[in-house]
C-alpha cells in the first residue's frame, strides 16, 4: 500500500519506517515499483537505508535495478538484495538537500527507465528569528522585519509567521501580508491600538521543527515614521557663489496626526558620493547652505522625523530621503574669448531703443507708417547675407543712424532692407 510522508512539524528520527495507515479510497493505479521510506525528512549528517520493491506484474527482479540520487548513479557497493523483488541502498552522512523541493532518490530498471522515486528532505531545524524591528507609517499600520537566525540556510523550506497581541488582552493575531519590505517582513494594515503596548514575535517552522523568537514589546506611537518632505526646491541666493537656499513643505500627514517634525538635509557635489549632513535644521521648512563651491552642481535631499506625538518628547523614525533635487552655485568670472558678449548686448539694447523709437515715429511723424522694428530686423538679416564678417554688425548701428539723419522727406522705407546692395555707406 502506498505510504504517505509524515506530518510537517513532527520530528521523525532517522532510520525509522513510517507507520502504515489505511490507504485513501481512490482508484490507485498500479505503480511499477514502490520505495520505502517515501519522502522522509532527515537531519543533516544522518544515514538512511531505502528499499525499492518492484511490482510482481513487471517481471523484473532485484538484480535488474539500480539507484540514482539527484541524477547521479549510486555505487553498486552500497546496494543489497533483500529478496527477489527488493533492492536496498545505504546512504551515509547525508548533506543538506540540493534543492528545497527535496533530493530525488530514484529506483531504475536496467535500461534506465524510472520505476519509482522518493524525495529526501535533509536539513536542519530552524533557528530563532532575531532582530525584529518595526515601524508605523503615520500611525496607520505596522511593518516589521526580522532576520532568520545565525544559521540562515536550513536547506528546507522554512515558513515564518509573525504574531502579535495586545499586552493585557489574551488574543493572538497572525500577520497576513508577507514580503512587503524584503523576504523576512510582514505588514499589518489596520486595527492597531495606540497607547497600549503590543507583544510581537516571529515563529519559524520547517519539517524538522519550530523555533520562536524572543518577544518584542512596543507601543505603535514610539515607532512612527512619515513620508518625506514634499516640494523640495533648491535655488541660488542672488549672486552669492557659495550659498544655496533650500525650501520644502512638511509632509501632509503631519497635519492629520498632530505631530511636529524635525528635519535633516544632506547634500553632495555632483561627482562625489560623500554626503554632508545638516542636522540642526529644527522644525523650519527652509534652510540656507553656505560654504559651497562656486560654479558647482549640488544634489540635495531632505527627510523628516515626527516627534512630540500627543505630547511625548520622544522622536520617531526618520522618513526616507526626498528625491534628490539639483542646483548649481553661480560662478563669478566670465570665460574669456570664446564669444564676445559685448556686441550682443549692444545689439539688444540698441534694438530695444529702436523699437521704442519706431513706436514714437509712428505716432508723431508723417509718412512713416510703414516703419517698424521689422524693417530693422530685415536689414540685419540682409546684412548678414551680404557681409561675410560678423563684426560689421557692431559698427552698423552708427550707419543706420546717420542714414536716418536726413530730413523726413529725404528717404523712403523701401531703401531700408531692400534687396539691393547697401549704397555708398559701405565701411
Amino acid at each position: 500500500a502506498p505510504r504517505s510522508r509524515s506530518s510537517p512539524a513532527s520530528e521523525s528520527p532517522p532510520h525509522s519506517q513510517p507507520t502504515p495507515f489505511t490507504a485513501k479510497p481512490l482508484p490507485a493505479p498500479r505503480h511499477p515499483a514502490l520505495i520505502s521510506p517515501q519522502d522522509p525528512t532527515l537531519v543533516i549528517g544522518s544515514s538512511l537505508t531505502a528499499a525499492c520493491t518492484v511490482n510482481t506484474d513487471s517481471h523484473l527482479s532485484a538484480e535488474d535495478l539500480y539507484w540514482t540520487l539527484n541524477g547521479r548513479r549510486l555505487p553498486a557497493e552500497s546496494y543489497k538484495v533483500l529478496n527477489a523483488t527488493t533492492l536496498s541502498v545505504a546512504l551515509a552522512h547525508l548533506n543538506g538537500s540540493k534543492q528545497q523541493s527535496g533530493d530525488n532518490l530514484v529506483c531504475h530498471s536496467r535500461d534506465g527507465g524510472i520505476l519509482a522515486g522518493s524525495c529526501l528532505y535533509v536539513g536542519l531545524p530552524p533557528e530563532k528569528p532575531v532582530n525584529i524591528t518595526c515601524w508605523s507609517k503615520n500611525m496607520k499600520d505596522l511593518t516589521c522585519k526580522w532576520a532568520p537566525g545565525t544559521e540562515g540556510e536550513t536547506y528546507l523550506h522554512t515558513n515564518y509567521t509573525l504574531k502579535y497581541k495586545l499586552r493585557w488582552y489574551g488574543r493572538d493575531n497572525t500577520c497576513q501580508e508577507y514580503h512587503t519590505a524584503g523576504p523576512y517582513s510582514c505588514h499589518i494594515p489596520k486595527d492597531l491600538a495606540l497607547f497600549t503596548p503590543y507583544e510581537i514575535w516571529v515563529e519559524a517552522s520547517n519539517r524538522l521543527g519550530v523555533a520562536v523568537s524572543d518577544v518584542v514589546m512596543l507601543d505603535v506611537l514610539d515607532v512612527v515614521t512619515t513620508d518625506p518632505p514634499t516640494d523640495v526646491h533648491v535655488s541660488r541666493v542672488g549672486d552669492l557663489e557659495d550659498q544655496l537656499s533650500v525650501r520644502w513643505s512638511s509632509p501632509p500627514a503631519l497635519k492629520d496626526f498632530l505631530f511636529q517634525a524635525k528635519y535633516q538635509i544632506q547634500y553632495r557635489v555632483e561627482d562625489s558620493s560623500e554626503w554632508k549632513v545638516v542636522d540642526d535644521v529644527g522644525n523650519q521648512t527652509s534652510c540656507r547652505l553656505a560654504g559651497l563651491r562656486p560654479g558647482t552642481v549640488y544634489f540635495v535631499q531632505v527627510r523628516c522625523n515626527p516627534f512630540g506625538i500627543y505630547g511625548s518628547k520622544k522622536s520617531g523614525i526618520w522618513s526616507d530621503w526626498s528625491n534628490p533635487t539639483a542646483a548649481s552655485t553661480p560662478r563669478s568670472e566670465r570665460i574669456p574669448g570664446v564669444c564676445d558678449p559685448k556686441s550682443g548686448e549692444q545689439n539688444s539694447t540698441l534694438r530695444r531703443e529702436l523699437k521704442q523709437f519706431f513706436g514714437w515715429v509712428k505716432k508723431h511723424a508723417y509718412g512713416c507708417s510703414n516703419l517698424s522694428i521689422k524693417l530693422y530686423d530685415q536689414w540685419r538679416v540682409w546684412l548678414q547675407k551680404s557681409h561675410k564678417t560678423r563684426n560689421q554688425v557692431g559698427k552698423d548701428p552708427s550707419l543706420i543712424l546717420s542714414y536716418l539723419g536726413g530730413p523726413a522727406g529725404g528717404w523712403r522705407a523701401s531703401d531700408l532692407g531692400s534687396t539691393g546692395p547697401y549704397p555708398q555707406r559701405r565701411p
Binding site: P32, Q100, I114, G117
Partner: protein, 228 residues
C-alpha cells in the same frame, strides 16, 4: 440583345456611382469578420508570447525540482494525473481536417484545464519568487483563454460547456488529483509543463491556419442590395 448607347452608359454610370459609394454599401458581416481577424491575430501573438514566457518559467521550475528533472533528455513515464492532462499531439491528418469550430474548441478546452492544473501547482511551491512567476504566467494564460473565447464568439461559435458529458474524465471536476507521493507529483509537474509547451506550439499553428481563412479586412460588396 440590342443595347442603345444610353443604356450601356447608364450601367457604367451606375457602376461608378456604386464604387464611389463603397463605404456606404452594406457589406456582408464585414465588421464581424474584421473583428474576428484581429482577434485571431491577437491570439496568435499571445501564444507566441506565452511560449516565450514559458521557456523561462519552465527552466526555473525544473531547476527547483532538481536533477534529473532539469536534464535535457529527461523522459519519465507518465503516471496518474499526467494521463489526465489533455494531449496536444494528434494525428496530422486529423488535425488538418478539423473544422474551425472543432479547432478552436480543442484549444479552449485544453487551456481551461491546463490553467486549472497550473493553479494547483502554484499552491505547493516553496519559493516565493517562483510562486510569483507562476502567478503571472497563470494570469497571462487566463488572458489566452479569454482571447480564444472572443474569437469563437466573433465567429458565431458557442463556447464548449465546461463539464460536458462528452468530455473525458478529467473534465468532470475531479480536478488535480493529489498523487500519493512527492516524487510522483514532481513527474506530474514535469509533464504538465511539457504538455503546456506542446500546446502552445500547436496553437501557434492552429491560429496561423485560422488567420489565413479569415483575413483581417474582409469586405464583401453586394450588388444585389442595390437591386441591380
Amino acid at each position: 440583345m440590342d443595347f442603345r448607347a444610353g443604356d450601356s452608359w447608364g450601367i457604367f454610370a451606375f457602376l461608378c456611382a456604386a464604387l464611389w459609394n463603397l463605404p456606404a454599401v452594406p457589406a456582408l458581416n464585414s465588421t464581424d469578420e474584421a473583428g474576428a481577424g484581429q482577434s485571431i491575430q491577437k491570439t496568435y501573438d499571445l501564444t507566441r508570447y506565452l511560449e516565450h514566457q514559458l521557456r523561462t518559467l519552465a527552466g526555473t521550475y525544473l531547476n527547483y525540482l532538481g536533477p534529473p528533472f532539469n536534464e535535457p533528455d529527461f523522459n519519465p513515464p507518465r503516471m496518474t494525473r499526467a494521463e489526465m492532462v489533455p494531449s496536444a499531439t494528434v494525428d496530422f491528418e486529423l488535425w488538418r481536417s478539423l473544422n474551425d469550430n472543432a479547432r478552436l474548441a480543442a484549444n479552449y478546452r485544453a487551456y481551461t484545464h491546463l490553467l486549472c492544473y497550473l493553479r494547483g501547482m502554484d499552491g505547493q511551491v516553496a519559493k516565493a519568487d517562483l510562486r510569483k512567476s507562476l502567478g503571472h504566467f497563470c494570469s497571462s494564460l487566463q488572458g489566452l483563454v479569454v482571447s480564444i473565447a472572443g474569437v469563437m464568439s466573433s465567429l458565431g461559435y458557442p463556447l464548449p460547456g465546461s463539464l460536458g458529458s462528452t468530455d473525458p474524465a478529467w473534465a468532470h471536476g475531479l480536478g488535480p488529483v493529489s498523487p500519493h507521493n512527492d516524487f510522483l507529483k514532481k513527474m506530474d509537474d514535469f509533464w504538465l509543463l511539457k504538455e503546456l509547451q506542446t500546446w502552445l506550439w500547436r496553437s501557434a499553428k492552429d491560429f496561423n491556419r485560422l488567420k489565413k481563412k479569415v483575413p483581417p479586412a474582409a469586405v464583401t460588396l453586394s450588388l444585389e442590395a442595390q437591386g441591380f
